[in-house]
Amino acid sequence: MIERIRENQFSQLILAHLKETIREPGVLFWGIIFPILMSLGLGIAFTQKSDSIRKVAIIDDSTRVQLPVGKKLLISDFLKNNQAKNVIDPHYKNCRQITIRDDKLGNLSVLFLTMAWEEAMVKLKQGELNLVLMEKNGQLEYHFDPLNPDAQLTYLKLSKFISRPGTQVSENTDMIVPMTLKGTRYIDFLIPGLMAMGVMMSSMWGISYNIIDKRSKKLLRRMVATPMKKTAFLSALITVRTGMNFIESVLLFIFAALVFHISIQGSIPALFLIFIAGNIAFAGLAVFISSHTRNTEVGNGLINVVVMPMMILSGIFFSYHNFPDWSITVIKNMPLTMLADGIRSIFTEGAGLTQIAIPAMILSGGGIILFIAGLKMFRWH
């Protein structure tokens, strides 16, 4: 019995597609390792608060100014009060550092560099300095570009302490509640997008390229000259792809769950449904665009034309809500957007079957229509 199933043409086609796919060394990398690396890279870059260093120049002309009696130099007072460390820096003679501890927003180290006004201006323009401090008549002047958020931030943090003589930098005791709630971080946005993109990329390249390549090698022509069922050929190809996409997505999820503690808040059956619908959509699209050409270069072009706009517009890496209003309606109706938004709503908003039903229907319906249309004009020779 088992032997009979193995000798069945559908099983054999599945085996053949599977073997030819996994025996290509690139598959493992592009399908599994690459998305994981991407999530790791982007996830770390955009989620973790690291200690930041800001450079501030102190203009050294205070010696020439006559101090009113009883007034202290604000800056040197500040530095002394806080036991600024002397730091050896090859580029600056006089360099002192103060660290403002902050558990919630990340520690801020400020390097105070003493230099002349002209030098400070040059460095400020080059972006090497965030802020220039100058003391005139016992008044502190802050020079910085108000449009630069980094400079603003440095100003706000520093001014809090320096302007009040005698204050010491202290831990941040404000009531700040960091948004580390699951589902609101960048990584929570990214992982569903990467899963959707994985489905699109691997279906489009895997299915379309496979078909066009076999057509150009005249293997399709050879195969349909046997009693092979044409639909068995295509459905085996699609089945293998869907299975591989499933494994790739699960691995990506496991990775993200372990490293970033990402979790699925909505319904698993809904997730399954939208995933299958997305696979149907992209399989249909893949069969459709590869139905005619026998030139692999033309095929490359076609696939890129379809894939590229969606990669950019569909909100995989960054939300599409910054695009002009008129384009958002279009973007929302692209299959990749539907799939990514669908998966995302299950992951982060706790969506269930009811919220997913309509996009899932549109995706699978569109996929089936494209598949049938593709099959109608399919060139086997």
Binding site: E3, E7, N8, Q9, S11, Q12, L13, L15, A16, K19, E20, R23, E24, K214, K217, K218, L219, R221, R222, M223, A225, T226, P227, M228, H381
Partner: protein, 309 residues
């Protein structure tokens, strides 16, 4: 007695945009018969064969396999023919055995048949090699093996030995000869190699520009007009036209090779007559040879070209 032909092709025509690839070809093949389609590049061999295979549709004319036309009998006919296309690449990263198993499944055949084919085509050592790593000859044997999987009643091989070295070619011939001895398979084979047609086939059709120039059994073709010996020699100056009217055989002059060719019936008498004729006209023959006429000679006289050009 009129046995049913395994294949019958009746006045088949096929054009593409700018070329008429096949212009009214008919043929009839009996069970067990091996037929060669011999012709230069672009003669229309592949087009004709692919029409018989049901891959292309003729513009005009009829094709029957075991009395059935392709229309409506596709699956049935596909089950009784075995084909090897002029160029097919199989799946690079499947092994020989896996490739055969895949095609076997299309015919609902089992692993046992795959093993038979591997043995028959001498691919035992290569059964676990990826197709991409096979040599040209091994690849052709694999293609032949796939064609033979379903024990076809009609085998169609499009240039099965093109590009192979003489040894690899002989290996393919050996498989086909054995097939001829052991089974009742009919074969349609296209080739540029007259030696291949001579070695394997009972019946030869020489085609060019989509038409049959000459056909018959090898014996018939080579004894065409009873001129079955050929004499060839060089001359310093072109052979004057019409000079040979006093002889009862023709002398043809080929300006390219600067050779004169004569086909004769009886070499002992005709050679002597030719030599004295040349002496009478003060012509000095060089490099004179004589040999049995071959299909290539026949082809050259029919088309003014060599087969492999």
């Amino acid at each position: 007695m009129n046995k049913q032909a395994i294949t019958e092709v009746i006045d088949v025509w096929k054009s593409f945009k700018t070329v008429q690839a096949v212009r009214g070809i008919s043929m009839r093949i009996q069970p067990g018969e091996f037929l060669a389609l011999l012709g230069p590049n672009g003669a229309g061999k592949t087009t004709l064969v692919e029409m018989i295979e049901g891959i292309q549709k003729p513009d005009k004319g009829e094709i029957y396999i075991e009395g059935k036309s392709w229309n409506g009998n596709e699956k049935e006919l596909q089950n009784i023919i075995g084909i090897s296309l002029q160029e097919t690449h199989f799946i690079d990263k499947l092994t020989v055995a896996e490739t055969l198993m895949l095609f076997a499944s299309f015919f609902r055949l089992d692993r046992g048949r795959v093993n038979e084919i591997i043995e028959m085509t001498g691919l035992e050592e290569k059964r676990k090699s990826y197709v991409v790593n096979l040599s040209g000859g091994q690849r052709q044997r694999l293609a032949l093996g796939i064609a033979l999987l379903n024990k076809p009643k009609l085998l169609l091989l499009d240039e099965p030995t093109t590009g192979l070295d003489p040894n690899a070619r002989r290996e393919v011939w050996e498989i086909l000869r054995k097939l001829k001895k052991d089974t009742g398979t009919s074969l349609i084979l296209t080739t540029h190699y007259m030696e291949e047609a001579e070695q394997l086939c009972d019946y030869v059709m020489i085609i060019d520009h989509g038409q049959v120039l000459r056909e018959g059994s090898l014996h018939q073709l080579l004894r065409d007009g009873n001129d079955d010996m050929m004499i060839e020699f060089t001359l310093n100056s072109p052979f004057p036209e019409g000079l040979d009217h006093s002889l009862d055989f023709n002398i043809q002059w080929d300006d390219n090779s600067r050779k004169a060719i004569a086909f004769v019936k009886n070499i002992e008498t005709d050679l002597l007559r030719l030599l004295s004729f040349l002496r009478e006209h003060d012509l000095q023959p060089g490099n004179l040879i004589w040999r049995k006429k071959t299909l290539d000679d026949l082809f050259t006289t029919l088309t003014g070209r060599h087969l492999n050009d």
